[in-house]
Symmetry: C2
Subunit: 233 residues, 2 copies
DNA sequence: CGCTCGTTTGACACGGATCAAGTCATGTGG
DNA sequence: CCACATGACTTGATCCGTGTCAAACGAGCG
């Protein structure tokens, strides 16, 4: 198993519990081939660091299985989560394109399978295969879009209830009205620029108002219109 | 003069007070040619809207002269400034790539000269000229980077003084230690998610502590290390 | 001159951060 | 099997920072 990062890394059987790669990069078969020829398969255990803030770029990471948390940390140790990436996403593009240090840290939330593409190979693919650069453009566009969404949450939602409501609605839009939250209150707080206690309090308030409910480990949205009206205020 | 937007638009002599285009897009001469062949020159007066939030994309805008404010607005009318773009930048990429509505509004801060490239021509150039897609990738990367910077300011700087200090340092890094602020307190407040009054108070506090000073219309940074230490806290 | 716009300053209330307990579930070692 | 540790969640009390409202100042300009 390759070690692009020097981080702890479990040798792991590809036939393990990790679900099959989604093969999301919609490239032509020939382009897929040249990508796979240039990349290496890497496995990361949960909470491993794919790349870290302020680190120079080593390459890009095509996530095949597992979910990865993208966050940035301040000097005082406080951190803010930008988003969590899923299978099919290309990670570390910003640094690989600009050549500057990573602006954020990528941490595996679960065991992950990754196709790692070294910096040099990345630049070469970018030059040679126009198809590949289109794929990069689309991923960068998604990254930019989600960063804008974060700015909107952080800058435009003044009260904590607005932020939490917006977070729930965005999360639900990815997976129906009910979604099992794989994030702790602590992590939600980090995504919203709040404290753990405030998240707990706000969720309790929503439960009391029958806007949401807990069904076992899952959180279900009972009154989506009411949540939406909270954001508009 | 073309009207890509239906917005008010002053007929204006190219030899007017607008300074010459920086011609920043570092493309090969042949690629420049094909870009210019496909685009149209447009002039916007100050405070004109190039494109607006929630509008479907009409194309992309290569800024040749002038500065443009990129902001998003909430339902209650509050708005937050993402950044202000200068000559050489390609605007409206996010929407043009994804095909979805614009996530932000672009407003001319000064009279602007723009090369407007229609949506169809943009997609065609993207397919045909690999060089052009590299240019798009680099611009998207810059956009993403500045959005990340905003997230850091909004999410990681808790106190108003940290946000203002960070804003001043970022602004200064673009243009030396002294910079004539072309933004009102109101606009700074919008960029930082604060109120106009808080910005005034914080700047007054900085002046009192001799961290900054006003020299005519310009703001100069007297004690950069002290400002930096404010951010780390 | 009187208008407008940006800035400045003060008083006050409110929201969320912070600190501090205490609950509940899970897991670990004796 | 029980005692204990751990991690996430819950809840309450208090405090500080900003938002909000209000009033006034200064500069530019018709």
């Amino acid at each position: 198993v390759a070690l692009p990062n020097g981080i702890e890394l479990s040798e792991r059987n590809p036939t393990s519990a990790i679900k099959a790669p989604d093969s999301l990069c919609n490239l032509s078969p020939t382009a897929q081939k040249s990508f796979e020829a240039a990349s290496r398969v890497v496995f990361y255990p949960a909470s491993a660091i794919l790349f870290a803030e302020a680190q120079p770029p080593r390459g890009v990471y095509l996530l095949r299985a597992g979910r990865v948390k993208l966050a940035m940390t301040s000097a005082e140790g406080k951190s803010i989560i930008l988003r969590v990436a899923g299978p099919g996403e290309l990670l570390g593009l910003g640094a690989a394109v600009s050549g500057k240090a990573h602006e954020l840290t990528a941490e595996a939330l679960e065991p992950c399978q990754v196709d790692f593409l070294q910096f040099g190979s990345f630049r070469r693919l970018l030059q040679e295969r126009a198809e590949f650069s289109i794929m990069v453009i689309e991923q960068l566009s998604r990254d930019y879009s989600s960063a804008c969404s974060q700015v909107r949450t952080l800058g435009l939602c003044r009260k904590a209830s607005e932020k939490v409501a917006r977070f729930l609605l965005i999360w639900a839009s990815h997976g129906g009205t009910a979604a099992t939250l794989p994030l702790t209150h602590e992590e939600i707080a980090q995504a919203l620029g709040l404290t753990r206690e405030t998240v707990t309090r706000t969720l309790a308030e929503f439960k009391h108002k029958k806007l949401i409910a807990m069904v076992g480990p899952d959180l279900v949205i009972c009154n989506k219109p009411a949540l939406q009206s909270l954001i508009a205020a």
